[in-house]
């Protein structure tokens, strides 16, 4: 009787088991089947090689170097001591340090631990040769982006890094994943789509150690395009050097075509730092530095243009016929208006337009401003492209600002005549990027033709024409020669404010600017152009709180001398 009870209980258990097997296999079977697929099928992405970035002469600004990554799979670990002795030998790092690294990075038994991200070819070979002794070690081939010019091309070229969440959000429809490398800043960011290869991948069947046991499918990666920039790397280096310890920007542009030959912003950063291990201390410093080395001051920084803006006022006055070139104003060193005294750098005495430009006389331009009315300053400023994007092919360009009485009134504030005086000498609400002033000067030099500044010359081996509106600033034909004479004399005359830039054998014209900015030394500007040289260029040097505009002139001279040596001028 009792045995029968036992027998029935046992039978009950068998029914339970049969039921559970039915539930697990017949009812939930599909779910578990999918899970078993997830277990064994892995997609390993093959990164398409990123295109190189070259300067106008084919000199490499950014390229890829093969890098070997060394990983260790904890699950497969045999003799720990032997492995770490071996690693210590090939990596030339003490075994206990490696062990510490291993312990801190280890997550799960089956997840490979990255022991070194860029090992030498010899070390990689050594690991491969000892594959059978140490199955836990694996070498994977990857790319590492290198920038031979380091800091001096930082802002033009940019850097690459893992896609951050914000970028990923924008780009995920284009096949980017959290593991993709994307360009940041400069050409790397602006031309990311061209540079970036199309990632391929292989679908492999893996075993529990993550080792590949079969190949299920393969899609070959495609390399990205090389791109050629208009930049001349020698001139770029020189521009960077000329800025020295200052904060600021320097731009050299071919004024006929808009090709940017050099575009420097100081302080700069070393893009190589970003290709090294993520979270390297150098990167943190870049982000925290109060001098903002990641800010490209040439296009992303806006500053009061100071006396450079007088070019706009002069153009407006001449074109509108408000003044004649021979008309004089007296400069006693100041102008009183509405109970405020507006100062000039010197007591200039009687000045005609040319003299006022050469000496950068504020009082003359105060009078001009009052004659012109602020609305005209705005109109001609817009005509020169101020307050608007230049649409240069660099990311995060700022439009700057050009004040206008009407906008003021919309904001419920009045426009006082004093505002006109501030505006006419490029102070107050006027803000411009160094690149905008570069184009402004190019427009003067080109007698009204507005070029499109750009850094891209070729994609792959195809030259790329720049789309631009072929805009022309139409003014009275006498205006340009008069203005250009004055700008030439600014450099050529001994009394000219930019005489420091005068280089024998080269015809340089230009305008200096000194702009007050809340606290600290003045901003220093020199914006000029060459005439009749092999390549006709515009050069802009801007020194943030650089003191006297003379400092900007000295830096510009240095860059021009290099340009001369390089046969550009």
């Amino acid at each position: 009787m009792r045995v029968k009870i036992i027998r029935l209980i046992v039978a009950g258990f068998f029914i339970l088991i049969a039921g559970d097997l039915f539930y697990g296999q017949a009812i939930q079977g599909r779910f578990y089947y999918q899970q078993s697929l997830n277990n064994r099928v892995r997609v390993i992405s093959l990164n398409g090689r990123r295109g190189r970035i070259l300067d106008r002469n084919g000199i490499v600004l950014a390229e890829n170097r093969t890098a070997f990554q060394l990983t260790l799979t904890p699950q497969a670990m045999g003799d720990t001591d032997a492995v770490f002795d071996f690693l210590s030998g090939i990596l030339r790092v003490p075994a206990d340090k490696l062990l510490t690294r291993y312990r801190s990075l280890k997550t799960a038994d089956f997840a490979p631990v990255l022991m070194a991200s860029d090992i030498t070819r010899a070390a990689a070979m050594a690991v491969e040769e000892n594959k059978f002794r140490f199955p836990e070690l694996m070498v994977e081939e990857g790319f590492r982006r290198v920038y031979p010019f380091a800091e001096s091309c930082g802002h033009v070229v940019g850097y690459v890094g893992k896609a951050n969440p914000a970028r990923l959000d924008q780009m995920k429809d284009y096949g980017y994943t959290a593991e993709s490398f994307v360009g940041y800043l400069g050409a790397e960011e602006f031309y990311d789509a061209q540079l970036r290869g199309v990632d391929g991948g292989v679908q492999v069947e893996v075993n529990s150690r993550g080792r590949q046991v079969a190949l299920l499918g393969r899609k070959d990666p495609e390399s990205g395009n090389d791109i050629t920039l208009t930049v001349n790397s020698r001139l770029q280096q020189s521009a960077m050097q000329a800025l020295g310890e200052n904060r600021g920007a320097a731009i050299v542009m071919d004024r006929r075509t808009g090709e940017i030959l050099a575009l420097a912003s100081a302080p700069s950063f070393d893009p190589n730092a970003f290709s090294a291990a993520a979270g390297a201390p150098a990167i943190q410093e870049y982000f925290q530095d109060r001098d903002a080395p990641l800010l490209n001051r040439a296009v992303n920084g806006v500053f009061p243009p100071g006396s450079v803006f007088k070019v706009v006022a002069a153009t407006a006055a001449l074109d509108l016929g408000k003044i004649s070139p021979t008309m004089n104003f007296n400069c006693p060193g100041f102008l009183d208006l509405g109970g405020t005294r507006f100062g000039c750098a010197h007591v200039h005495g009687t000045q005609n337009l040319t003299e006022a430009i050469v000496h950068s006389c504020n009082v003359y331009f105060f009078h001009l401003g009052l004659i012109l009315k602020p609305e005209n300053l705005y109109r001609y400023g817009r005509g020169f492209g101020l307050g608007q994007l230049t649409r240069v092919d660099l990311p995060y360009e700022k439009p700057g600002r050009l004040p206008r009485p009407r906008d003021r009134l919309l904001n419920g504030r009045r426009w006082y005549p004093g505002d006109t005086l501030n505006t006419v000498i490029g102070q107050g609400d006027v803000l411009a990027t160094p690149l905008q002033l570069t184009r402004l000067m190019a427009t003067v030099a080109n007698e009204g033709i507005i070029v499109q500044p750009h850094i891209l010359a070729k994609i792959g081996d195809k030259a790329v024409a720049q789309f631009h509106l072929a805009r022309r600033l139409k003014v009275h034909s006498d205006t340009w020669p008069l203005l250009k004479t004055a700008l030439r004399r600014t450099v050529a005359d001994v009394s000219g404010t930019a005489h420091a830039v005068d280089i024998p054998g080269v015809e340089i014209s230009g305008k200096t600017g000194t702009a007050q900015s809340g606290g600290g030394a003045h901003h220093a500007w020199f914006v000029g152009y060459s005439q009749g040289t092999k390549t006709e260029i515009v050069i802009t040097v801007f020194l943030e709180h650089g003191g006297s505009s003379q400092n900007a002139c000295v830096a510009a001279r240095q860059i021009l001398l290099t340009a001369q040596q390089e046969g550009i001028l």
Partner: protein
């Protein structure tokens, strides 16, 4: 009774062996972690075991029961010895090397224990007919003393450590005590006491044993550690669906996602490659075998063979139910193997011996 039952037992055992060898061949097919030679090893021991079975079929089982105390003593001594000088493997001392062949005394202990308990309780019945002068004495004689005899090897096995086998011995003891006719109030009092002792016993468990028990309650506690095995096992069995992925084609098995797939988790291999048809098929074979063993016990009148067969049937039932339940996630993972299917030399021989003994009992009754 008689010839037909013998044939059923023989057929089901043969089919289980064949089933097991096919599964083991697949489990060791890739030769990763599980070496291929274990299949041939098992094949050899299957031959040896069947020889042993045929021999025991003609060998009078009463010689075993006569010598039950000697077997028991020697076996306990072996267990003690294995603790002191046994071979270390997988963090435990369970094996002995005898002339180059390893052997596991705890497997044999299950059989020795069944002999001993069958002999003890059947002897009691003959001499005292269960009539005790006072309840305390009866409790001691009927239950506590045999429990003490069981507890000694249980303790040694527990120290190896092998919690599963240790608990299994307790299960055998309890079922046999019930079958032997020990009074229900004694049994229930004793069981209540044992349940009350669980919190105390918890303290003596190794931390990995605690982990396994906790993971049983929730496998997701530690999916990469202790929970890994059970999750992979459930995936393997479930992914076989109704018809299975086919022999040698189970990805969980062939790609080494299943740990211990040649021993404790061999059933998962069958589930993955043969599907519901395979698992139900094998479970049915076991069920037929066990059902008939119990039926046989019921039809046997003599107390000694009756208890002996009950003990043997219960060890089969416990092993099969716990093992399948364990790989399905119904029970905690306690390291109980699947008879005649899991790889294991000593246990393979032991299970064939039990069948040999049962067949011998049948013969005795037929003629």
């Amino acid at each position: 009774m008689g010839r037909s039952k013998e044939r059923i037992l023989g057929m089901s055992v043969s089919l289980i062996i064949v089933f097991g060898l096919i599964a083991l061949f697949s489990a060791s097919y890739q030769n990763i972690r599980v070496a291929q030679n274990i299949f041939y090893d098992q094949l050899f021991f299957a031959g040896l075991g069947i020889g042993l079975l045929l021999f025991l079929r003609r060998f009078d089982y009463r010689r075993f029961t006569d010598a039950a105390y000697i077997f028991y003593g020697v076996n306990v001594a072996l267990l003690l010895a294995v603790l002191l000088i046994g071979r270390h493997a997988l963090g435990a001392r369970r094996w002995f090397e005898v002339a180059g062949v390893s052997f596991q005394p705890s497997e044999l202990m299950k059989l020795s224990l069944i002999f001993l308990l069958a002999r003890y309780w059947s002897g009691l019945r003959e001499r005292f007919a269960y009539g005790a002068r006072n309840p305390v004495q009866a409790f001691w004689r009927d239950l506590l003393f045999p429990f003490f005899l069981t507890a000694v090897p249980m303790f040694f096995v527990f120290k190896q450590p092998d919690l599963g086998t240790s608990l299994l011995m307790f299960g055998i003891f309890f079922i046999m005590a019930y079958a032997a006719g020990v009074q229900k109030r004694h049994l229930s009092g004793f069981l209540g006491f044992c349940l009350a002792m669980i919190p105390v016993a918890w303290k003596f468990l190794k931390s990995y044993q605690k982990d396994r028990l906790l993971v049983f309650l929730n496998p997701n506690i530690d999916p990469l550690g202790a929970g890994y095995t059970i999750i992979q096992s459930k995936i393997a069995i479930g992914s076989g669906q109704i018809f299975g992925k086919g022999w040698l084609s189970g990805t969980q098995n062939q790609l080494n996602f299943l740990p211990e797939r040649h021993t404790d988790f061999i059933f998962s291999v069958i589930g993955e490659e043969w599907g519901l048809l395979g698992t139900w098929g094998l479970a049915t074979l076991y069920f037929i075998l066990i059902w008939n063993l119990f039926r046989l016990a019921e039809q046997t009148d003599a107390p000694l063979p009756r208890l002996l067969i009950t003990g043997i049937a219960s060890i089969w039932a416990l092993q099969v139910i716990i093992n399948i339940g364990m790989v399905m996630g119904l029970f905690p993972i306690v390291g109980i193997t699947l008879p005649l299917v899991s790889y294991g030399r000593t246990s393979f021989l032991m299970y064939l011996m039990t069948i040999g003994i049962v067949l011998n009992i049948c013969r005795k009754q037929t003629y």
